[in-house]
Symmetry: C2
Subunit: 135 residues, 2 copies
DNA sequence: TTCTATGCAAATTATTTGCAAACTA
DNA sequence: TAGTTTGCAAATAATTTGCATAGAA
C-alpha cells in the first residue's frame, strides 16, 4: 500500500460527507482540487479502501454503489422521492440472532444491511402537509 | 394491461423459483419454451409486474437486480462465496418501529430491505469442516 | 531502482429505449 | 380497428480493465 495524494484525497473527501456518495460524486468533488484525477482511480481506490475495511460499500436500491465512511453496521434510509440515502442510528438495528456466528441452517453471518425505503422528512412533509395527494 | 404469453410465462417462471433470478436468468429459462422472446421484453415485464406489486424487485449486493415472487417484506441472505441469494423466514425481521407509519424525524417508511451477508451453509461447511483456512 | 498507482481510453456488464410489426381486446 | 406489447438493435449508464508512464518507498 502506497500513500498517494489521490488516495488520501478520496478518503478525506468521503470522510467529511454524511450523504452516501457514489464513486462519481467523489470524483466530481475531488476533481476541484485535483483536476487530473481519473474516474478509474476513484473507483479503484474506493474498492481498495473498502477491501481494507477502512470504508464501507453499500448496495443501496437504485443501481449505483455508494460509499460510507462509517464501517460499523447501521441502517440506512433511502428516499424513493429524492433518491437520497440517510443514516439511521445503529440503535434501531434488528435483533440479530448471533450475528458473526453460525445461524439458522449453518450459515455464517458476516454482515447485515438494513435499508428502510420510503419518504424522507422533506419529501414526506411536501406530500402530507398540504394534502396534495395527486402529485 | 393486456395478457400476453410472454408476460404470463415470465410471471409463471418467476413464481416457480425459490432462488432470486435476475432478468437474464428468467430470460435464459423462458427462452427454452419461447425462443423468440427478447431480453427487453423480460426487463419490461419484470418492471411492470413489480410496479403492479405482483412481484418484488430486490436490490441485492453485487450490482444486478433480482426478482422475488414473494412480495411480503422478508430478509434475504447473500452468500459472498457463491453469490446466491436465499430467503430467510420473515420471523427474523427486525423490530421495526412503526413500519408503514411516520418514524424518527418525520420519515414515512414504506418498506424494509434486510439482507444478511456471509457464507451459505454449503460454502461455510466447505471452509470450516476441514480447516482449510488458506484459499 | 523497483514496483505500485495513476491517467486515459477502450471494453464490459446491466439495463433502457426507439420503432415498426405483431397481437390482444 | 385501436392501442398495447413485442423483437431487435442501438443507446445509456455504471463499472472495470489494459497499458505505458508517473511517482512512492
Amino acid at each position: 500500500m502506497r500513500k498517494t495524494e489521490q488516495r488520501s484525497a478520496i478518503l478525506r473527501e468521503l470522510q467529511k460527507r454524511k450523504d452516501h456518495p457514489t464513486a462519481y460524486d467523489i470524483y466530481h468533488t475531488v476533481r476541484c482540487s485535483m483536476p487530473n484525477i481519473s474516474l478509474g482511480t476513484v473507483y479503484r481506490n474506493l474498492e481498495y479502501l473498502a477491501g481494507k475495511g477502512m470504508i464501507r460499500k453499500i448496495d443501496s436500491a437504485g443501481g449505483k454503489k455508494r460509499f460510507d465512511p462509517n464501517t460499523q453496521d447501521h441502517p440506512h434510509f433511502h428516499c424513493l422521492e429524492c433518491d437520497r440515502v440517510e443514516d439511521i442510528p445503529a440503535a434501531t438495528m434488528p435483533c440479530v440472532p448471533d450475528a458473526g456466528n453460525d445461524w439458522p441452517e449453518g450459515r455464517i453471518i458476516l454482515g447485515i444491511n438494513l435499508e428502510y425505503v420510503g419518504l424522507c422528512s422533506s419529501c414526506a412533509g411536501r406530500k402530507t402537509a398540504v394534502g396534495h395527494e395527486g402529485d
